[in-house]
């Protein structure tokens, strides 16, 4: 019996062939890259400047939303270790989770500050970037360092030498004010007693278009940034407003109401060649250009409620893009072309910022349960960040956010109402 049972033992399968197997892995999670920015070294006469430079740099890098700035209080490395890669104990930096290490020296040389940047890859244990800068202020120094760190990691230019124009209301006064991208260092560019609205930068940063009532009705004016002079660009019909330059700076699209019908018009930048793009009897307004200048998105209530539409730059092939919500406004096309940000009122009568794909029409929400009003989004020139006005702190302030809304920063603390932010171009 035992022999019989033994004869029925299973035959196990032979071993598989000895060739190597491969598996595919995709769809990773993306997370911010952990950076360590220890206090900058300095000479005796520049300690305050070094501290301000380091802190401004940390704030800038955190604002990008692609970096996580590690708390300097957690650092284990010897603060006196040098700058040569051989002198740095990278294991100490790895222990606190750093993937990149930013060190710098700040010195005063007459009226200028000199900054020496050293950027290291912690895991590789080597220096990967070395730069020397000369700037007048710690903030300017920090912004240049931030731009170069961003450029190194993302292969894209940083945005910290750009500015954001906003409209600020005072007692009987309206101002166009330019803030640094981090919401600080504001500069008044223009001041008027008349109502002014909707600033928009020329692609080279030399001019800002805005809508003004100074002529008795809404018209399009341009402000020369260098000297504050203004000129009338166009004013037709009962009102003209919301002018935006095409990405090549050669054309201007705007809204005009002629004989009671609001439509989208285009003129050449020199004021010639006026063309009407929409003719629907409904209200058509708020144009924004695609980054290739071939299409325009706008708002129309031809369906009975304001929705976002898209058309060719010559006015042909107008099609509705949004079908959710019933009050969608202020579209702004991303410089990357992949998304259009807009303001919408939801079923709770709250205004929030959304993004929609111009190709699929899929809408994603950026803000939610963060105050009653988040509105008028504008894109950074790299298309990675949005700025919009928000009342979440009680007064309207500027908020900078990534397009998903997962990382938002309130960047201003103004006492006067501000709104209509327009993010300016990269420095030429």
């Amino acid at each position: 019996m035992n022999r019989l049972l033994a004869s029925l033992l299973l035959c196990l399968p032979a071993a598989a062939a000895a060739q190597r197997q491969y598996i595919d892995l995709g769809s990773p999670d993306f997370r911010p890259l952990a950076l360590a920015v220890p206090p900058f070294q300095t000479g005796a006469d520049a300690q305050a400047e070094a501290n301000e430079t380091a802190q401004t740099l940390r704030d800038d890098l955190a604002l990008t939303t692609v970096f996580e700035l590690l708390d300097p209080r957690s650092f284990l490395a010897d603060p006196r270790e040098g700058f040569a890669a051989s002198a740095i104990r990278f294991s100490r930096w790895a222990d606190v989770g750093a993937e990149g290490l930013v060190k710098a020296i700040v010195r005063r040389e007459g009226s200028l500050l000199t900054g020496e940047l050293h950027l290291y890859e912690v895991r590789a244990g080597r220096e990967v970037l070395y730069r020397i800068y000369k700037e007048k202020t710690p903030r300017a120094l920090a912004h240049r360092i931030a731009d170069d760190v961003v450029q190194y990691y993302t292969r894209e230019p940083g945005i910290f030498r750009t500015r954001i124009a906003v409209v600020r209301r005072g007692k009987g006064i309206r101002e166009i004010v330019a803030f640094d991208a981090d919401g600080k260092a504001s500069e008044v560019l223009y001041r008027d007693a008349a109502i002014l609205l909707l600033p928009h930068w020329r692609p080279d940063g030399g001019e800002i278009l805005f809508t003004s009532y100074r002529g008795g009705k809404p018209e399009i004016w341009a402000l020369r940034v260098s000297d504050g002079s203004t000129r009338l660009v166009v004013g037709i019909g009962e009102l003209s407003s919301g002018a935006v330059y095409s990405p090549d700076g050669r054309r201007i699209a705007f809204t005009a109401s002629v004989d009671g019908n609001s439509d989208i018009y285009v003129i050449n930048a020199d004021g010639s060649g006026l063309r009407r793009l929409t003719t629907d009897p409904a209200t058509d307004a708020s144009p924004t250009w695609s980054p290739d200048g071939r299409r325009i998105a706008f708002v129309s209530n031809r369906s009975g409620h304001p929705h976002i539409y898209v058309m060719n730059a010559d006015g042909t092939e107008q099609r509705r893009l949004t079908f959710q919500g019933n009050y969608n406004q202020t579209p702004r096309w991303s410089p990357r072309g992949d998304l259009i940000a807009f303001t919408a009122r939801d079923e709770r009568k709250v205004f929030d910022v959304f993004v929609v794909s111009p190709e699929t029409g899929k809408i994603s929400r950026v803000t939610q349960d963060q105050g009653m009003t988040n509105e008028e989004p504008s894109w950074a020139p790299n298309g990675r960040l949005l700025v919009f006005a928000s009342d979440r702190t009680g007064r309207p302030q500027l908020v900078v956010s990534n397009p998903t809304g997962d990382r938002q920063h309130v960047v201003t603390s103004e006492s006067a109402p501000i709104g209509s932010p327009a993010w300016g171009p990269l420095p030429q």
Binding site: R20, D24, L25, F30, A193
Partner: protein, 243 residues
């Protein structure tokens, strides 16, 4: 020893037992030789099925809501106000009479500013606030998902373990995300320990390659089955990483 007179009955147990054993052995052999189940495509993502919550369906024409609200934004850092540079007031043109702002679409009916409309708006808002959860009439009382979404399929244990640690820095640009690829070869010990990692093909992006090394070192590999231990220790296992 049988008692006298007891009926002699032939013993049929052994043939039956032998036949049963043979049948069982044949079935087991058949199962082993044909493999342990349907072939698994290791390139496919795992499918996770979610149960849709039982409830009323959220109206399709409403704007979407996030399941996970955005985190709170930190306040603006304190700043020192710079001395303002005087900017002259613009020379006034003929005094403008106050006009309405650029045209906005007329408010839908029932959404005016009168007391009744405000009351109706408040009631609608309260109803919307009270009705926090949405689902599907065909959902499950134990469901947690707002709507049905695509599922994932179970991968082999190694893929699953690596996937959990496959994280890349957000600094990698969109353009590079389209093209970055790398292949590593792992030698895996019988206890699951990765004894060596080498790049068969680098991506050209240091941040990406370092992230792959990190993912492998952070992963606790399952021990290979006995029949494959020799292979993974000598020939190794290749992993093609892409985005």
């Amino acid at each position: 020893m049988r008692a006298v007179g007891e009926l002699h009955r032939p013993d049929r147990l052994w043939p039956v037992l032998l036949a049963s054993l043979a049948a069982h052995a044949a079935l087991v052999s058949l199962g082993v030789l044909r493999g342990s189940g349907p072939p698994i495509d290791l390139g496919q993502k795992p499918i996770v099925a979610k149960l849709v919550r039982l409830g009323e369906q959220r109206p399709e024409h409403w704007l979407p809501r996030r399941d996970v609200p955005p985190p709170e934004a930190p306040p603006a850092p304190a700043r020192v106000a710079a001395a303002p540079t005087p900017v002259p007031l613009a020379v006034p043109s003929p005094k403008p009479s106050p006009k309405a702002p650029p045209p906005r679409a007329p408010a839908p009916p029932g959404h005016g500013n009168d007391a009744l409309s405000r009351a109706i708006s408040k009631v609608r808002r309260d109803q919307a606030l009270a009705r926090e959860t949405w689902g599907d009439p065909t959902g499950s009382p134990e469901g947690t998902a707002t709507d049905a979404s695509e599922g994932d399929r179970y991968l082999a244990l190694v893929s699953e373990a690596l996937q959990a640690n496959y994280r890349l820095p957000a600094t990698i640009s969109d353009q590079e995300r389209m093209s970055l690829r790398a292949t590593v070869v792992l030698t895996i010990e019988p206890d699951g320990r990765v004894s060596s990692l080498r790049f068969e093909r680098r991506s050209g992006n240091d941040a990406f390659d370092q992230a792959l090394e990190r993912a492998v070192h952070q992963t606790r590999m399952p021990p290979p089955p006995p029949e494959l231990q020799q292979r993974y220790r000598t020939v190794g296992l290749g992993v093609n990483f892409h985005i």
